[in-house]
Point group: C2
Chain length 217, copies 2
C-alpha cells in the first residue's frame, strides 16, 4: 500500500507553511516575528515563548537556532547592521562624485534614513542591555563605519574643505550628533518642536546640514 506523501516543500519560503513538522526556515521566521513583536508590544515585553507562539512552534524550538534570548536579539541587531550598511553603501554610491565633506554628509543622511525607516532595529542595536555587542560582529562593523567617517573628515581637511578645528573631533561630533538626534527623536524628545507638521527625518537632516555648514570652509 502506498503511503500518503507530504509534498516535500524543502526550502519553500513563499506559500502558506502547511504545518509541517519542520518549519523549513524557522531561523528567519523567528527574527521577523521578533521584530514584529517589538513593534506591537515593546522591546521589554518580548519573550522567546511569545516569539515561538507567533511563529507557531513549541517554546523550546527557538533554542535550536539561538542559544539564548540575548543571541536572538543580537541576531536582530546583526540584521539591523546589514540594513544600515546597505543604506550607507547606497548613499555613498549616489554621492561618489562629490567631495569628501559631501560624502560625509551623505553617509550621515544614510544613517538617518535607516534609523527612521527601521525604528525597531535602531532601538535594538542601541540598547546594549539586551544584546551582546562585544561578543558579536557588531563592534567590529561599527568601528569600521566610524573609521570610514574619520577618514572622510581627514580627506575633507586635506582638501581644504574645513574651516578649522581637529578633523577627528569633527568626525566624532558629527557621529555623536547623528546618534543623539536619532535616539532623542525615537525617545520622543521632539514632541511638538517649534515648527509643526514637519517630517522628523527632514528636520533632523536640516540640523545635520547646519552642522556640516558650520564646519565647512
Amino acid at each position: 500500500m502506498s503511503r500518503a506523501r507530504i509534498p516535500s516543500a524543502k526550502t519553500s519560503v513563499g506559500g502558506p507553511p502547511g504545518r509541517r513538522y519542520h518549519h523549513g526556515n524557522l531561523r528567519q521566521a523567528l527574527l521577523e516575528a521578533t521584530v514584529r513583536l517589538i513593534e506591537i508590544q515593546g522591546l521589554d515585553q518580548v519573550s522567546v515563548r511569545a516569539v515561538a507562539k507567533m511563529v507557531g512552534v513549541s517554546p523550546g524550538a527557538p533554542f535550536r537556532h539561538f542559544p539564548t534570548r540575548t543571541a536572538l536579539l543580537t541576531a536582530v541587531a546583526e540584521q539591523a547592521m546589514d540594513r544600515l550598511r546597505d543604506e550607507i553603501d547606497k548613499a555613498l554610491a549616489a554621492a561618489a562624485d562629490e567631495n569628501a565633506l559631501m560624502r560625509y554628509r551623505a553617509l550621515g543622511i544614510g544613517f538617518f534614513t535607516w534609523a527612521f525607516g527601521n525604528p525597531v532595529h535602531f532601538q535594538v542595536i542601541s540598547t546594549r542591555a539586551v544584546i551582546d555587542f562585544e561578543g558579536s560582529s557588531l563592534r567590529a562593523r561599527n568601528d569600521e563605519i566610524r573609521a570610514v567617517m574619520a577618514g572622510m573628515m581627514r580627506d575633507a581637511q586635506a582638501a581644504g574643505l574645513l574651516r578649522r578645528g581637529d578633523p577627528v573631533r569633527h568626525a566624532v561630533a558629527g557621529r555623536a550628533l547623528a546618534y543623539g538626534l536619532a535616539r532623542m527623536s525615537i525617545d520622543g524628545q521632539f514632541p511638538s518642536w517649534d515648527v509643526e507638521d514637519l517630517n522628523p527625518l527632514q528636520e533632523v537632516i536640516g540640523i545635520f546640514d547646519q552642522f556640516i555648514a558650520s564646519i565647512a570652509a
Copy 2:
C-alpha cells in the same frame, strides 16, 4: 523582670543596622543597593530579589515601597534627575555673570560632569525600556531643562552672539551632541581615540567647545 530593650534607633541612618525587624530606612537603602548592583552586575541582571538580598530583607519587602520593578528603577532615575539638576544649578551659578552662549556652554559642561560622574544614573535614565519616563516627573523635568537651553540660545541670538542659523536648531543640536557623546562614551564607542591617555570628560568637553565655537559669531 525587666525585658531586654532594643535601643529604639528610630531613624538612625548612620551605624550598623543591627538586624531589627524594621529596617528604618529601607526605601533609600533599596535605591542605593540597586545602583551598587547595577555597577557590579549590569542593568539587565538587576532583580528585585537580588536587591532585597543585598539589603538583607525578604524578597517581598521592596514591594512595600515600590509597586513594581519599573517603579524601583524609575525612582533611581528620579534621583539621577535630582543630581543632574544640582549639577546644572551649580554650573549656572558659577557662570551667572557670563553671556547667554557661555551659560549654555556651562550647562552643557554641567551635564557632562554629571553623566561621567554618575554613569549608572545616566545609564538608567537613558534606558527607556526599564523606566516609566512618561508616567513620572522625568518627562516634565527633562522638558524644563530643554526649555532653559532653548531660551539661552534665543538670548544668545538676540545678543548677536551667534554666527547664523536657527537658534532653536542650534539648541537642539547642542543637546543631541551632548547626549550622543555621553551615551557613546559610556557604550565604549571611544576605545582608544586617536590621542591616548586623555580624560574622557575633558575630551568630550573639548568637542563640545568646538561646537560652541562653530556657532559663535
